[in-house]
């Protein structure tokens, strides 16, 4: 973990725990925000604003969406049944280091993509934002 990520981790854990009303010890790096920690979209908004207040690093839900879809148009990211296709899955494997399509129990649909996003992925996004603003 980089120095920036190490420095940001406590703030991220505290923000998530406070927004969700859970113990910080539950906020493990590989926990998914929506699935494992039970966050709803309003919680995501709360978490991101809490992080911005304490760290000054601004990330929006739209930024997470941009990361996950990488600017690939919807019609190229998934098929007509909204199932993420090879192009989409390849992109997700690039941006989410833990994601492995062979581990999917069922086809991944568009509304399930945000559910892949983990605490570590958020930390990585914040770290890259910090690096970009420092450059």
């Amino acid at each position: 973990m980089t120095t920036t990520a190490t420095a940001l981790l406590p703030a991220v854990q505290e923000a998530i725990a406070d927004a969700l009303g859970i113990d910080e010890a539950e906020v493990l790096p590989d926990a998914t925000l929506l699935g494992d920690l039970g966050a709803e979209s309003i919680d995501l908004l709360d978490i991101l604003f809490r992080i911005e207040r304490v760290s000054g690093v601004k990330v929006t839900v739209a930024d997470i969406g941009d990361l996950l879809q990488g600017g690939i148009p919807d019609e190229e990211f998934g098929d007509e049944n909204e199932v993420v296709n090879d192009t989409g899955l390849s992109h997700l494997e690039r941006v989410l280091p833990q994601f492995d399509r062979t581990q999917l129990a069922e086809p991944l649909t568009a509304d399930g993509v945000l559910g892949l996003f983990t605490v570590q992925n958020l930390l990585d996004l914040l770290t890259s934002r910090t690096a970009a603003s420092a450059a």
């Binding site: 309003i42 049944n81 945000l114």
Partner: protein, 154 residues
């Protein structure tokens, strides 16, 4: 031969429920949040009802979530401001979709939308209905739905 039954339209529904106090607290703690979530028209409408501003804002937040669910995309599928609730002169709320939300609706062949909002007892809720030109592949007419063995599942 019986006349061919016309294809039923696809109907997509989304619902959401939020705690008004939570939205009010988020707005109070984060001055930048209102711009990120609500359009100028939405903020102006809610500001014109100061006694229940938080409830109106929370209902609109729920509406955006309900639409995202009906479109079948997660919260990151479109910006919140791309889903707008506009009140007609008679007060009836209607949906206006912009940007990615509008593109998603086009892709889902959405031809008609409706939205219903309600708030009270500290909660705000919204239901979104999208009527699509083609049948939703996940939705079936129960009169005709059959499982793979050919037995009716109704």
């Amino acid at each position: 031969m019986p006349p061919e039954t016309p294809a039923l339209p696809g109907i997509r529904v989304g619902a959401d429920l939020v705690e008004v106090a939570r939205v009010e607290r988020l707005m109070a703690d984060n001055p930048g949040l209102a711009d990120q979530v609500f359009t100028g028209r939405e903020r102006a409408y809610c500001a014109s009802r100061p006694r229940r501003r938080g409830e109106h804002l929370a209902a609109r937040f729920a509406a955006k979530e309900a639409v995202l669910k009906a479109l079948g995309t997660g919260a990151a599928g479109a910006d919140w401001t791309e889903i707008e609730v506009v009140n007609q002169a008679n007060g009836r709320p209607v949906l206006r979709l912009h940007g990615r939300a509008a593109a998603l609706a086009d892709r889902r062949q959405v031809r008609q939308t409706d939205i219903s909002l309600s708030h009270g007892a500290g909660l705000a809720t919204a239901y979104a209905v999208l009527v699509c030109a083609g049948p939703d592949k996940d939705q079936h007419d129960p009169q005709h739905q059959q499982d793979t063995t050919g037995r009716a599942t109704t």
